[in-house]
Symmetry: C2
Subunit: 149 residues, 2 copies
């Protein structure tokens, strides 16, 4: 994805997609949500080439999505963590996962089930809401916002 290609589009979606970079970003964030937080942890989980992973991790740190620090008990090891900005990707990530569950894997064939650690209750399907009610996709209005010159 060329970095400057989408910049002209007056849309936070394009900017978000541009900053996320490529699909690996989402998979790395998913791994972090699962507790995987080291270079070789990502590598063995994802099968990503080390040069790609390295570059991607640098970019994610630069963009403020991840933070990085040395492991206290092992000087070789770096530990990565989600920043608040990175954690804020969770809703879109989970919505995408649920889409794959429903439309690709199929109901009842989900490879992974998401739940609340505290209560054990399964996550509900993510929905679009306004005024306390669901909004169907066809009923969404795109209005000019204050960020447009």
């Amino acid at each position: 994805m060329s970095r400057n290609r989408l910049d002209h589009l007056p849309c936070s979606l394009a900017r978000a997609l541009d900053e996320a970079g490529d699909w690996w970003t989402f998979l790395i964030v998913r791994d972090l949500l699962r507790g995987i937080n080291s270079f070789d942890g990502f590598q063995s989980s994802l099968g990503i080439a080390s040069n790609i992973l390295s570059r991607r991790l640098v970019k994610l740190c630069d963009d403020g999505i991840l933070s990085k620090r040395k492991d206290a008990s092992d000087g070789r090891r770096m530990r990565y963590a989600l920043t608040p900005k990175g954690e804020a990707l969770a809703p879109s990530l989970i919505a995408l996962m649920q889409w794959g569950d429903e439309w690709i894997s199929g109901r009842g064939r989900e490879p992974v089930i998401l739940a609340d650690k505290r209560t054990g209750g399964q996550l509900e399907p993510i929905r679009i809401r306004a005024d306390g009610a669901d909004v169907p996709a066809g009923e969404i209005e795109f209005r000019r916002g204050p960020g447009l010159a």
Copy 2:
């Protein structure tokens, strides 16, 4: 993104990302939600090269995300529409847009504001929920699902 690279991952997220193809998919779906539904409509809205757009539209139709038909009053023109599978991408798309609003554009500088056509009420931030309560990103548990051999 090579089509078969992520197939081995037992995760609906990887499958979803693989099927979505590239970022253009999301931008095309966004345009359709906005009412843009023709080839040159996408092209002038997105600045995408015609060969890329053509290939992407074919793939999206093949994958059942879009449908395509001839315009009744203009035999040259094709009209594209979201299928239910395509509409189901809206939550992840909007979550991503909201992420861009908050973390890239910044609050108060949103290029676009989303609302409910029927009530005019602005869309709420998309949240992760279980048992009728919000779930913070750090409290999500990944459990083995039935789709794993």
